[in-house]
């Protein structure tokens, strides 16, 4: 089953749409659902041109395709438990919240809180993501607990904050404080970042680029060979949090 949602022209394209119903398991039962546009309740068909092809026995056989300017559509794939969502352009905040199974692929850029508190499944972004990619949420101590997040572009600040399980790969650069409060899982950063893994308790973080503003409460334990065959400096920490996380870094600079 393939459900194609093409965004209609909107009078004001900046008004956000809260679309937590755009999930394969809900749309396979029918596309007559409501979403919020700003503070107005709208039928999905008012905002999108909907084309449904084929049939599906379970959510896993469903593919949802989003087309058009979806950069203001929020919470797509929230609590998704199977199937596939392909977004051909950009996507708004909170895409893939709490997802437990299935695949989301974003061909453009994703806004903040991308794949927040992921439980399982795979989330891919071909472009850049905003802040708090694969992170937890305000106050909660456990962030992403399982699954895989792969970002081919750059990520904003606080990527993989509170990571407690699963795998996060960011091929580009990260902003400030990636992996802060990490307590499990693995985080791989292909490019540069600043101040990684502050207050980390456990887990593994690898930075293939340069770290600026290196957190001083990490203990250097020696050198190791990284996934690309070159040497990395190994750290253990964050000592300030009695943590035993592992941090592997190609180059690093402490703040002067």
């Amino acid at each position: 089953m393939r459900i194609t949602l093409s965004m209609r022209e909107r009078k004001n394209p900046y008004i956000p749409i809260e679309a937590e119903k755009i999930v394969p398991s809900i749309l396979m039962k029918g596309t007559d659902v409501t979403v919020y546009e700003g503070n107005k309740v709208r039928r999905l068909a008012d905002l999108f041109e909907i084309v449904v092809e084929g049939e599906a026995a379970s959510a896993d056989e469903v593919e949802v395709v989003l087309r058009g300017d979806t950069s203001r559509v929020k919470r797509v794939g929230e609590y998704m438990d199977g199937g596939r969502i392909t977004i051909e352009g950009d996507i708004g905040m909170h895409c893939g919240n709490f997802m437990s199974a299935g695949t989301i692929e974003v061909r453009g850029n994703a806004a903040g809180w991308f794949a927040r508190e992921l439980r399982g499944g795979t989330v891919i972004c071909r472009g850049n993501t905003g802040h708090y990619c694969a992170a937890g949420y305000r106050g909660e101590k456990k962030g992403m607990a399982g699954g895989k997040v792969e970002v081919f572009g750059d990520a904003g600040d606080f990527a993989a904050e509170h990571l407690s399980g699963g795998e996060v790969i960011i091929h580009g650069n990260c902003g400030d404080m990636p992996g802060a409060e990490m307590r499990g899982g693995t985080l791989t950063i292909g490019g540069d970042c600043a101040r990684p893994c502050g207050n980390m308790k456990a887990g593994t973080c690898t930075v293939l680029g340069t770290v600026t503003g290196m957190v001083p409460t990490f203990e250097r334990t020696g050198e190791t060979v990284g996934p690309d065959g070159r040497t990395f400096t190994a750290f253990v920490g964050d000592i300030a949090n009695r943590g035993k996380g592992r941090l592997f870094i190609r180059d690093f600079q402490y703040l002067e």
Partner: protein
């Protein structure tokens, strides 16, 4: 003129000695009357259990520290979310929900009167502001005096009249209801980096001991003729072996009032611990309950712990610091200049944790071992032991040995050797539950005179109709039905107006704030006492003229005037 007739109600009203009589209740203009005209609105209770509106004599739902619990736990706001509907505001939160959520959930459980357990006088405005956003319950606030410099100085100087003068002036200035002492002296000592282990340690810089503070405040309470007694959170909360301190305190409480207790001891579960450390930790509910049984001047509340997530908040700052060192989670600590302090941390009570399992058992033991239900109130010290939405489960646990055994089988396996709960066969009946959740609480608070906690003629028409027929249900066996019934009333009626029906909120009400204004008589006005004014000017960050809470903060206010007798 509004009239209402509740027909065929199966009424239990312990204060008027009605124990299961099917009768009609007539209401005119918010008061219970003999009969009403034929045009009255009729509600058919269909023989369902009908009780006076619930009274919670110790809860934390409004004020600065509750609000700080909200700040601290944004994750708590992800639970309990409900959209706005009709007159009902949107709600969120579980252990520290929004004021509206608190009010709606209490109303749905049949509660119509609440006492906020601890209001720092300096921060009273915040409490009153939140009261005005608690639409469906009448509110009162006990006022903290545990580290009040003026009071402690007066006690050291042996000036008992002055203690009463300061208490009376403060209560009337901040529109408080009664006296609350939380770890008396201890929080002030903590302000200087120390703590007090028990009632005979001296408060640094003040030269007084907790027992002196407690006794002086009890006498001041009686001097001022306050409707409620001193509300005491004993010293040394939550530490193994602290039952000795609790007994020491209870044994030194004089019996000064014929009409009510002289001391209301709060969350006694947290004060009934034996052992010398966490490994030997055990229940000492038996000696504590025995002492209470022999001292009619003391009323306790359970402070029942229920498993799950919650937030602890108390004016007992040092205790919260100890808890923080145990959990290493978030922690907040706060000092209220010259008056008191507070601490807040989120906790999770686990079944697989031995200490938590023992704590759970102790609360139930206290309620079952205290013979007289008028002396033991059903509370969780919301949200410290558990959020108040757990009350129906506690009621069922007290009414059913079978339920207790089923629950006991799920707790830590070593609990059995540390507690006496499995040996207790007592099962409370409907009347006793009615006493512990409304009649007894109203009597302990001294508000039966203004028509709370009973359904007699002239009483305020606060009525809770629960969807359960007493004769057809055996609470000992069908405890699930008891939980369901107490979780959601068929109707909750507040001041003669149905405010909830089958869990749905019907009106946006307006509460009454009940406060006490002791008349001191000439010669006892501390507000013009040179030394008191000097202390105020010198140490407080506010001017004395800005200190009292203005009347505009109380939308509907019920002033209880008392005549102090020095």
């Amino acid at each position: 003129m509004s009239e209402l007739l509740v027909k065929n109600a199966y009424v239990i009203d312990p204060i008027n000695r009605i124990d299961g009589e099917v009768m009609d209740i007539a209401v005119r203009d918010g008061r219970i009357v003999e009969d009403v005209g034929p045009k009255a609105t009729v509600i058919d209770a269909e023989g369902c259990l009908t009780l006076p509106g619930g009274v919670d004599s110790h809860t934390h739902v409004c004020g600065t520290k509750v609000n700080f619990g909200r700040y601290m736990s944004p994750e708590d706001m992800r639970a309990g979310r409900e959209a706005r509907r009709g007159v009902k505001h949107a709600t969120s939160g579980y252990s520290v929900p929004t004021t509206y959520a608190n009010s709606y959930r209490y109303a749905v459980m049949g509660y119509t009167t609440l006492l906020e357990g601890a209001m720092a006088p300096l921060e009273a405005r915040h409490t009153h502001e939140e009261f005005s956003a608690t639409p469906l319950q009448d509110m009162m606030a006990n006022t903290l005096f545990d580290g009040n410099w003026g009071v402690m100085n007066a006690i050291r100087d042996g000036d008992q009249d002055r203690v009463a003068e300061i208490v009376g002036w403060t209560l009337s200035a901040v529109k408080g209801f009664g006296i609350k002492l939380t770890n008396p002296g201890g929080t002030e000592a903590w302000g200087f980096g120390k703590n007090l282990t028990c009632i005979n340690d001296e408060v640094p810089n003040f030269g007084v001991t907790p027992i002196e503070i407690i006794q002086a405040m009890i006498r001041a309470c009686e001097t001022l003729r306050l409707p409620h007694s001193v509300h005491l959170h004993c010293n040394n909360l939550g530490n193994p072996g602290n039952y000795a301190c609790t007994l020491g305190t209870f044994n030194q409480i004089p019996d000064l009032n014929e009409k009510r207790q002289t001391l209301y001891a709060t969350h006694v579960q947290f004060h009934s611990y034996g052992g010398s450390d966490w490994k030997t930790f055990c229940s000492k509910a038996e000696p504590v309950a025995y002492t209470v049984n022999n001292r009619p001047q003391i009323v306790i509340d359970m402070g029942q712990v229920m498993f799950g997530k919650t937030t602890t908040m108390t004016a007992d700052g040092p205790m919260e610091f100890n808890l923080y060192r145990l959990h290493h989670d978030k922690w907040s600590n706060h000092d209220v200049e010259l008056e008191t302090g507070s601490g807040i941390i989120p906790v999770f009570y686990r079944r697989k944790n031995l200490v938590n399992s023992i704590m759970w058992a102790i609360g139930l033991e206290l309620a079952l071992l205290v013979k007289n239900p008028w002396q033991c109130m059903l509370t969780t010290d919301n949200p410290n032991g558990a959020p108040f939405v757990k009350y129906p489960e506690i009621i069922a646990l007290l009414m059913s040995k079978k339920y207790r055994d089923a629950e006991f089988a799920t707790v830590h396996p070593d609990t059995g050797s540390k507690v006496v709960l499995p040996a207790l066969d007592r099962e409370l009946d409907w009347n006793e539950i009615a006493v512990m959740t409304r009649a007894g609480q109203a009597k302990a608070l001294g508000i039966t005179g203004i028509g709370k906690g009973h359904l007699g003629l002239g009483a305020e028409a606060d009525i809770a109709i629960y969807p359960i027929r007493v004769g057809e249900v055996d609470p000992a066996q069908e405890y699930g039905k008891v939980i369901d019934a107490f979780s959601r009333t068929k109707y909750t009626i507040k001041r003669g107006r149905p405010v909830t029906r089958d869990g749905e909120i019907l009106v946006h009400g307006e509460n009454t704030t009940i406060w006490v204004d002791p008349k001191m008589g000439p010669g006892h006005d501390i507000g013009h006492d040179a030394e008191f004014v000097k202390m105020f000017d010198r140490y407080y960050s506010v001017r004395m003229s800005n200190y009292p809470v203005q009347d505009e903060y109380l939308k509907r206010s019920l002033r209880m005037e008392t005549e102090a007798v020095f």
